[in-house]
């Protein structure tokens, strides 16, 4: 097991009808900016629940944060924060709204030339405005971690930020919100969370027995509840396990003491930036090719995953490892997620080269748990995913 440091101070308030407790978590004298997305919260009742909870706290609103939170839109929100002298941010949404809010929390106290520097200066964000979240879409784990990914349409870039200052002060997780989520987004959430676990697990054996089992526990639970959630999103038992699994998949715990990969995300982000493909779907496109390409260095963990998650007991270690990749791809396919880039765009030719070039230009030293994947490897993997 590798050395690690772990601290996660986010206060999780989980369960039925917990949105009503919102005001208890925000200082009474705060000046709040409530941030949300495309307006679905106005149809499903969450907006009203939040407004009711905030009735005695001074607050403003900023809606319209898009999926893949867009820098230009966030700059408009930043203007509101400055103009209204906002002291507390409240994200009401999924990963995109929460990530956008994290950027704003950092930008609200940033003293550099331009807030874009937060994304490019490679410095951890240690100071930020306080903020909380009301999660409306389980998937990214952003409600209990200190990372965010921001998109800039102008330059077709999607960049990550993070740091100890970016943990939400609190997050409210009411599994009842799942009832009104469209199937497409539920499928994305399941795929996103499952792949988050894979990124922190599918590397090489590192003697971290408990972390491996925790990762496997999350995957087993997602596999168990996925059909139930998709069949009936109002199944509270299934919804609550789905929601908690998504949070635990990326709240930092399972990555402690182990090597992590994240190459699937790095390549996937480029597909979203280039083609606007849903984040989760880009992961499902890249993951099978990535595991095939890196088969030799990952086969021990692939085989363990085959045995413990997919109950593959027959065959050699390699047989099991291959079966695991196939079963993972089938899992995505069975939920209606295509795992080939050509199913999403006719303009796929040349994508592998474009992405490889971007990595070269950014001066990346190497992707994957060994930091060994060069732009030419990326090119091959993306090509395999056509």
């Amino acid at each position: 097991m590798n050395n690690f440091q772990y601290k996660n101070p986010t206060n999780i308030i989980f369960g039925k009808d917990t949105i009503a407790k919102l005001a208890e978590e925000i200082p009474a004298d705060a000046k709040v900016l409530m941030l949300y997305g495309g307006g679905s919260i106005k149809k499903n009742g969450i907006y009203d629940q939040v407004k009711t909870a905030l009735k005695d706290i001074e607050h403003f609103e900023f809606g319209g944060i898009p999926a893949n939170p867009e820098y230009a839109v966030l700059l408009e929100a930043l203007k509101v924060i400055k103009d209204k002298e906002i002291t507390y941010l409240l994200a009401v949404g999924g990963g995109s709204v929460i990530d956008g809010t994290k950027f704003l929390a950092a930008a609200g106290v940033f003293e550099g030339d331009t807030p874009w520097d937060i994304l490019t200066n490679k410095k951890p964000t240690l100071q930020a405005m306080p903020f909380g979240t009301v999660l409306t879409l389980p998937a990214t784990g952003s409600e209990m971690n200190s990372g965010a990914v921001i998109t800039r349409a102008e330059t077709k870039e999607k960049l990550a930020m993070g740091g100890a200052g970016l943990f939400p002060a609190f997050s409210i997780l009411d599994p009842q919100v799942i009832t009104s989520i469209p199937r497409r987004q539920l499928v994305n959430g399941i795929t996103d969370a499952f792949t988050h676990v894979l990124e922190q697990y599918m590397t090489y054996p590192a003697g971290a027995l408990l972390q491996d089992r925790f990762a496997e526990s999350i995957m087993q639970t997602l596999l168990e509840v996925a059909p139930k959630v998709l069949e009936d999103p109002s199944d509270y038992d299934a919804a609550s396990n789905f929601m908690w699994s998504c949070t635990m998949a990326l709240n930092g715990l399972i990555q402690k003491g182990v090597p992590t990969d994240w190459a699937v995300h790095a390549m996937g982000h480029e597909l979203t930036a280039l083609f606007g493909i849903d984040h989760a779907r880009t992961l499902a496109i890249i993951a099978p090719s990535h595991y095939q390409y890196n088969f030799e260095s990952k086969k021990e963990k692939l085989a363990q995953y085959a045995e413990r998650i997919w109950n593959v007991t027959e065959g050699s270690l390699e047989d099991k490892a291959y079966a695991a990749i196939e079963k993972t791809e089938s899992f995505f396919n069975d939920m209606g997620i295509d795992t080939k880039l050509s199913k999403y765009t006719n303009e796929f030719e040349g994508t592998a080269e474009i992405i490889a070039n971007r990595f070269t230009e950014r001066g990346w030293l190497g992707l994957g748990e060994h930091q060994s994947l060069k732009p030419e490897d990326v090119e091959t993997i993306v090509h395999m995913a056509y």
Copy 2:
């Protein structure tokens, strides 16, 4: 799944040679009281490591906190805290030293008549002096939770306290400390952590699939590493998994959203208070009888535990459930832990009645996950454990 609230702000610094990082976690202008136990840290080198790390920070020492931290001894330490105007506490030890330090952290700012009120007023401790820990004995999880248990020899009482103010600011977990722990204490640690998981798991199915699997992950890992740790405490892989499992067994995570029992601890504490039996051993004495006595209400989870932890696949649900109790008792016995009170004392007659009477006198409304166990049930369970 039940509603829950979860926040754990302790900063964990885990791994090889991490004690050297101690000073980074303590304010430079702090006036520190370093608290420790019977002096084993002076033999195994931990004392020297801590002193070296603290060389630039003003600090005092208080040694001699006994196993089952004794109120009278802690009052002496409290006097030092007041006299020296200590601002920060540092526990260097196992659960007893850490629990004692938590009591002192609370007592240092307590404004009631007598510090004993902290144990008896049934109020959560929200304010306390800041403190950190250097864990020398994995077992209790106290290094990452907000609870403590204090003993008072004068009245043969052992009482619990807790509250959000009692999370350590940081805890340093260096698995290398295990190398010098005597076998008896290692066995106690394994038993204690394993029973902690059982207390939060062995109730009734509550639809908390992920929490169940996390609990099972910890038990599986403890079972896997126990023989290795006992065979060779310098096996770092085994030691690190043992240490992290003990912490995760009682840092609050696996109890969220599920019913918990804790009757084994409640009865066990009495055996320690009456006879001075090691805490972990009292749990091993009580647990089998407790599960047998409450078989009907626990049999579903006992059977799940039998299947997933002990690989019992044959027989009826009841058969599996019984087998699970037997296997648990054998696990303790195989490590050299006796599971009958009469193996520890010849004075066992009447113990069941004494303990039942104590519960009656304290006005306990009922033990267990259903709060349904009355003093007469306690009497029967303890009797079964003779």
